[in-house]
Amino acid sequence: MTTAHPGRPRRPFVPLPDETPTLSLGAAAPRRPHGARAAGAAVLGAILLGGLAAAALPLVVQDAYFLHSCIVVLFFAYMATAWNFVCGYVGQLSIGHAMFAGVGGYATVLLFTGLGLSPWLGMPVGGLLAALLSVVVGYPTFRLRGPYFALTTIAFAEMIRIWVENTDSVLGIPLNGAAGLTVPLRGESLAALQFNGKAPYYWVIVALLVGALAATWWLERSKLGFYLKAIRGDRDAAESLGISPARYQLVALAISAFMTGIGGGFYAQFFRYVNAERLIGVDLSIDMALMSIIGGQGTVFGPLLGAVLLAPLAEITRGSLGGSLLGLHIVVYGIILMLAVLYLPKGLIAPLRAVLARAGLGGGRR
């Protein structure tokens, strides 16, 4: 880690009287290798290498159920990472992120059935629509301090869920109410993002997850990331440093909603089915939040870790109890959350980071 360099010439850090403030940084600051830079590159390398390694899995394992389970875990990891992009870094709780998944999922399906638009395009369009919705939700609430954002997200998400569940069609667009929408079968078709095997879906979600992790890695070191962390630390102090909290929270929320919307589109393609309860319901929102918080919010890998631990757990509790105790996985989540808050308030990632830092990887802050 870089601390003091007595021999290095230091440039003045406050403007001289005849300088305007913007000039004093100068155009060409001397570039030196930096401890933080090297650690950052190592993190990005780990994301890309991990993605490549994960992508090789279907070449080794062909068991369809196992691959299916992996896809579900990676889907949750992706969604939790998208949630973390705004909530983890700005310290605001969203319990309604599923509404963005819902917009993305429904848009992907409806654009395909209605206009014949390929899901490859439908997913980003759905993401954009989700980002648009996020601005509507975030604009009035980010101006306020306190729990209003959390309350507004849950209220909006539930309003949309209930509306979709009770609406068969709107403006000629079929929503099909509580029954939901199915994706018409096209057989093996790359353009329609439909495959007979599981492996292609697996590769798509690995690619999405790598993208989301890389975006979070970028955020960590970007102006936006510093601004979000400052708003989380102290809003008044952040304002005094040139930060408009509402503006930057809104930008981060829109990016997060975009990613979540794409995730909803993937969900629709993978299950070939969307309905309001599953995709817009509060369960998915809580899953995203809890996996992120328990794994370690405000870190690149925390949500991934949380999903890898919690998603199979939910699957196992559901599977082994065979529907006799519905919602037991929520009880298990609750117990784990309590233990995590008591013993690892920074998430399960915290002790891992400490080990990595001691191993000299310099990633103590990642």
Partner: protein
């Protein structure tokens, strides 16, 4: 005399039934360290917050380099070149010292590496180079105060507003802080300081202004102002001033 850096023209602020600041006007010349004094409740903090954009003036103008900033929000005032510290330091507790000092740099540059270099230079300037990678929650109260000052500097201000810099500091720490403030001024930053500790004011400022009940009651060199009857009355009451007269 050149144009003032900051010119406050008749600003007022009322909170319900309380006229916190009434028709306050003063000027701040480039390169000056001006101290704002007054007993508790005189309206110093309200005036300070109006300049920093945290409280909106009911009326009046605040001209900074000739431009009225009275309607701007805090972040725009920062970008205009005014930085502030808080009376109770407000660090970003889970970030390191250098990360705290980097946040402000993004208001002036997009180059994260240059910003990190500058943040390290500021940490050295504060005498905190060895703590550069320490998370702020592990710092002492005085180091947090210094960091508060450094963080304001990271936005490259032309004018620095300081709210009670030595509050709670030991005499030795107070001296260190006074020396830091002087060095900041010597680098061309103009300073407006709200302070209670007379020793600090005598050591730092060439000129003081005194507020009482929202009004300006004195303006001049520290040694002259503290002997003015109005000032003595404001601080010690009617009888004290009368007895001395």
């Amino acid at each position: 005399m050149s144009a003032p850096l900051l010119e406050v023209r008749g600003i007022s602020k009322r909170f319900g039934g309380l006229q916190a600041v009434r028709d306050l006007s003063f000027r701040l010349e480039p390169g000056e360290i001006l101290a704002l004094l007054g007993p508790n409740g005189a309206g110093k903090t309200t005036a300070f917050n109006m300049i920093a954009g945290y409280t909106r003036a009911d009326s009046g103008e605040i001209l900074f380099r000739g431009r009225n900033i009275a309607r701007l929000r805090p972040w725009d005032i920062c970008r205009a070149g005014i930085a502030r510290t808080f009376q109770l330091s407000k660090p970003f507790a889970d970030l390191t010292v250098v990360e705290n000092l980097m946040v402000g740099g993004f208001a002036r540059s997009r180059d994260a590496h240059a910003i990190r270099d500058r943040a390290e230079a500021i940490a050295d300037f504060l005498g905190m180079g060895r703590q550069a990678q320490t998370e702020v929650q592990h710092l002492t109260a005085f180091d947090r105060r210094k960091l508060e000052l450094g963080r304001a500097l990271s936005t490259e201000p032309t004018l620095l507003l300081m709210d009670e810099v030595v509050a709670g500091a030991t005499p030795a720490e107070g001296q260190e802080m006074v020396a830091l403030v002087r060095r900041i001024r010597d680098r061309g930053v103009t300073i407006l300081i709200v302070e209670h500790v007379m020793k600090v004011i005598m050591a730092l400022s060439e000129r003081v202004i005194v507020m009482e009940s929202g009004r300006l009651i004195a303006d001049g060199a520290p040694r002259d102002v503290v002997t003015q009857p109005e000032v003595l009355k404001a601080y010690f009451g009617e009888h004290y001033a009368a007895a001395r007269a």
